[in-house]
Amino acid sequence: MRSRLRPNAALVIGGILTALLIGTALLSLVWTPEPPTRVRIAMRLKAPLDVGLLGTDHFGRDVASMLMAGAWNSLAIAWPAVLLGAAIGTAIGCAAAAWKGLADEIAMRVSDVVFAFPAVLSAIMIGALLGSGPLAAILAIAVFNIPVFARVTRGVALQVWTLDYIAAARALGKPPLRITLEDVIPNIAGALIVQVTIQLALAILTEAGLSYLGLGVRPPNPSWGRMLSDAQTYLSQAPHLAIAPGLAIALSVLGLNLLGDGLRDAIDPTLRSRSASA
């Protein structure tokens, strides 16, 4: 009983936090309390509730509005990056599971090599090639996601390939590509959705890190990472400038992680024990 209650709680809390994140991001497209890039020097470094809900930054911009717009900018990089990484990684993982042998070996060793580079490092390299900006950030996070999805997909797909009805399909001469598309992918979709949720959390964190280093969202578009980096020099005068984006990042990552955990247990309880033992 208890083991079913916890994942549900995770699912609910994670779901609420994630819904809040996505809702805020979408709302920022049509409404924010103030235009998030409007500079008001006369009102710089005001405390929360003094001016606006969360005060103002060193240019007098409304922090609450910047957080809202930052949520959108964060998701606008994290989503495409994870989806791109998931698409390529899943294709590689499925292929490795379907053909095994040399193809499998090559795919997994290449994954190991890519995996060895931290996302920030690959982002700096990609930034040096493409110039810094949102596109470089998306590509960098996507590259980092490919081996993750390749490995997860290969693992669960290999299990599916051992099932009796697939053996039957093979015996009847169904080509591996059709087996993969019609039988394997529907069976591993649950695991992939869970992984997407968890990788989204990581992508948001990485995007904040990249923007902090000046490699992500370009100024003046608000970004949680750059808000944090700007807040640094004002830490003693205006701590709210660091606390607000810091909390936003923490809650978003927590929400997505809880959602991922909750989903995993809800969709396939067997996954929980396996990943715990892995």
Binding site: R44, H58, F59, G131, S132, G214, P220, T233
Partner: protein
């Protein structure tokens, strides 16, 4: 047992050591690392901030008040027509490699700097020179083609220091001069270390034994380094928002002085739409300089309307020529054909003043219908390559920290791509004028031309927010030339 005793003895000697004599080491923090250590071949001020007066010396020097003082030349005579300068040199001066300094070195250094293939950043210093003669090792006679009002003053700059022919080629990485400190080591990306020159020609001039320049770009890290005692002095700290706090801290001396650095947003005058003076004026009208200084530098720094340091006696306040006026900005844009909006980019180096100013400028421009995208770049290497050399930019922003550098707008092929023959003639004329009053009047007129023509957006004068250990004395409060002259620095205990 004996090991423990030794350790105890070491601890005792270490803790009592400093009390016996005043400290003789100094760690100076700088935001930017110099690309090399030869001020006679490249422009970046960071080179001068490490080497000038510390490693290298010129015939004359500029003192902390901006006045010309004798150095390697103990005195000089100027002919009545102002065309012949006879310098009488110090004798017994040795370069750091042990070779003797004499008039041949002066001739070599100046001939090298004014050669056609020279990369000296301030060739105008040497342009008036007709010939250099060395009648004896202690005398140099320089004949000019035309009179030069600023000739002696210019010879005090880092670009005119005296170097030896044997070592000149290697000065970039292994500098050899006549100064009170010798080069010891350079750890790239971190520090340059200098040690006292035991053979210096003014034996008791300096009290310090070692001087270390550390390069710390991040303003927060600068303050942390100061508080931790890793750095003894930041001649110009990059965190103006923390300056007032440091001022209250009794451990530090904090002085807000002036630099010669004008922060300007240079425009590519050869490129559309910046070839249209109406667009340039519109951009200037769109800038609220006071708000800019407040937001970018916590209110330190004087707004400027032209390209001249407020420290200079010939300075005229030109901020009223094109004041903050959004309506006029919009009207001028409409007149120039950009009533429906204009999209431009700004290449922004990483310095805090530059990136903050760029963000503020973008916000101010947005209010008059100009969309300015910010493209981060890196100073000095990438910026020099892209903007300064290749002129591949719309707008950029940087502080010009050389003193009396209004003539950069008269230079051919400078990165602004600005061409104004009247201005060019006026600057040349001012340079030839030996009467101070007449020269200053010409500089005033030149300031007015720039204020009206706006080849660059004139924003504010960079303040020098110096913070150093309260026990230190002898550091400069203002910087009339880009320099961290530490020859007179000492510790009080």
């Amino acid at each position: 047992m004996s090991k423990r005793l030794l350790a105890a003895a070491l601890i005792v000697s270490a803790s009592f050591g400093p009390a016996l004599a005043a400290k003789t080491s100094l760690v100076v923090g700088m935001p930017i690392e110099p690309p090399g250590l030869d001020p006679t071949i490249a422009a970046p001020v960071a080179i001068r901030e490490v080497t000038w007066a510390n490693l290298y010396e010129g015939l004359v020097r500029i003192d902390r008040n901006g006045k010309v003082q004798p150095l390697l030349a103990k005195r000089w005579d100027i002919s009545p027509d102002g065309l012949t300068y006879t310098f009488h040199l110090q004798t017994g001066v040795k370069f750091h490699d042990g070779s003797a300094f004499d008039s041949a070195d002066v001739k070599f250094a100046f001939d090298r700097a004014r050669a056609p293939n020279s990369t000296n950043a301030q060739k105008q210093i040497f342009a008036p020179i007709d010939s250099i003669e060395t009648p004896d090792p202690a005398t140099v006679v320089i004949k000019l083609k035309e009179t030069s009002g600023n000739f002696l003053y210019y010879l005090g700059w880092g670009d005119a220091v005296i170097i030896a022919p044997e070592t000149a080629e290697n000065n970039k990485a292994n500098p050899v001069g006549t100064g009170p400190f010798k080069f010891k080591s350079w750890t790239r990306g971190d520090r340059v270390e200098l040690v006292r020159n035991p053979d210096y020609w003014q034996p008791d001039k300096t009290k310090l034994e070692t001087v270390t320049f550390r390069f710390i770009n991040d303003p927060q890290a600068q303050v942390a380094a100061l508080r931790a005692g890793d750095v003894d002095a930041f001649p110009n700290i990059g965190a103006p928002e923390l300056f007032s706090e440091l001022k209250k801290d009794p451990r530090f001396t904090a002085v807000a002085g002036n630099t010669e650095g004008e922060v300007v947003a240079g425009m590519n005058n050869a490129k559309k739409p910046f070839n249209d003076v109406r667009v340039r004026r519109a951009l200037m009208h769109a800038v609220d300089r006071k708000a800019l200084v407040e937001g970018a530098y916590s209110g330190y720094g004087q707004p400027i309307g032209s390209f001249f340091s407020p420290n200079h006696p010939a300075f005229v306040d030109m901020t009223g020529v094109i004041p903050y006026d959004q309506e006029k900005a919009k009207a001028l844009l409409a007149e120039a054909g950009y009533g429906n909006g204009l999209s431009i980019t700004i290449k922004t180096p990483q310095m805090a003043y530059a990136s903050r100013s760029a963000e503020l400028l973008a916000a101010m421009f947005a209010e008059v219908g100009i969309d300015m995208k910010i493209i981060p770049t890196e100073f000095p290497a990438k910026w020099i390559e892209e903007v300064f050399k290749n002129k591949d930019y719309d707008v950029t922003i940087v502080a010009h920290t050389e003193p009396l550098d209004i003539d950069i707008f008269a230079r051919d092929n400078y990165y602004f791509n600005y061409k104004n023959d009247r201005f060019k003639a006026l600057i040349a004329d001012a340079g030839r004028t030996t009467s101070e009053n007449a020269r200053f009047a010409k500089y005033a007129e030149a300031q007015k031309i720039l204020a009206e023509d706006v080849p660059a957006l004139f924003l504010f004068q960079l303040p020098k927010l110096g913070v150093w250990n309260a026990k230190l004395s002898g550091l400069w409060e203002n910087s009339p030339v880009p320099a961290n002259d530490v020859t007179e620095v000492s510790w009080s205990d």
